[in-house]
Symmetry: C2
Subunit: 203 residues, 2 copies
Amino acid sequence: MKLYDAPRTPNPRRVRIFLHEKGISVPAEHLDLADGDHRAAQYRRLNPYGLVPTLVLDSGEAISESIAICRYFEALHPEPALFGAGALDIARVEMWNRRMEFHLYQPVAHAFRHLHPGMKDFEVPQVAEWGEANKPRVLATLRLLDGELAGREFIAGDRFTVADITALVAIDFLKPARIAVPEELGHLARWYAAVSARPSAAA
Amino acid sequence: MKLYDAPRTPNPRRVRIFLHEKGISVPAEHLDLADGDHRAAQYRRLNPYGLVPTLVLDSGEAISESIAICRYFEALHPEPALFGAGALDIARVEMWNRRMEFHLYQPVAHAFRHLHPGMKDFEVPQVAEWGEANKPRVLATLRLLDGELAGREFIAGDRFTVADITALVAIDFLKPARIAVPEELGHLARWYAAVSARPSAAA
């Protein structure tokens, strides 16, 4: 088994945090995206979209999409249940993980990829107007989250889940995207300090 | 329990097809999006993003995000297993469902929302260049799918899953987005005819 990883990229970090929380270690190979490793024919055979990460099983089968890789390990090692346990908890975690993906992570990614000069060879065409259109969406979700976190410890309830991982990675992605978290969001700041202090955050 | 639904919109259709495949019936209330029902304060309390569908449980708790609603029913009624069964199958289904969402459904939705004149009050600002940039991404995934479907019956393996539901709904979304499926994609056409003929497709 091997995990194709790339340092300083947000999606592989989601998987690394997840594995650390599970106490699972997987051999990794680091791709150099600046060097175009992800566009090489050999990697494209494993992942036709040329994205990271990809998990290659001992059978040679390749699983891509960060959350698919996480679900594979959740099924093999159910504890702690980072996707929830029981129908209602599973639904809450899925809802919040998806809200964090579609209304926080993706808008941050669009702002970064369409506005940052260093992304011009990665996002073709860069559409600056679309990048800018995403910034208010990011801020709206940060404010929504702050209100939610006034009433509970973690994003999907009273336990740490994959929704916290997605949100943490998305919020750390704000810095390269040059979007500031409004200072008045105190509940969000409390949550961010707590999840950032977990050993997994450094994975 | 009540499902807030909206006719002729793709995400609620995913849930309707899923429930039909499971043999589950849920009372529904139809929102009129043209009339702004989804923007009313009462609905925003259930779903702060004003999106459809939303499932309201007997407790009053609201679950949104189509796939979160589907996972709730999968946990309560595991058969047939539309999200896969066993770690490897679960990972494959999640990978393909996400590929269909991120590389087919979302690009079709961006093309539709940013280019269709009828969407100007729903997608603000409409960025035509971004809409156009998504069209080649749609075609690339249709070609990828055609190659995959040369080797197996359904998108994530030899059984119908939620990945087929997402792909079917995305492909039917091509028509309002004014994107044509290339005629030479015969394997895709065979799959499309088969999934469209299932009784659930009319749900």
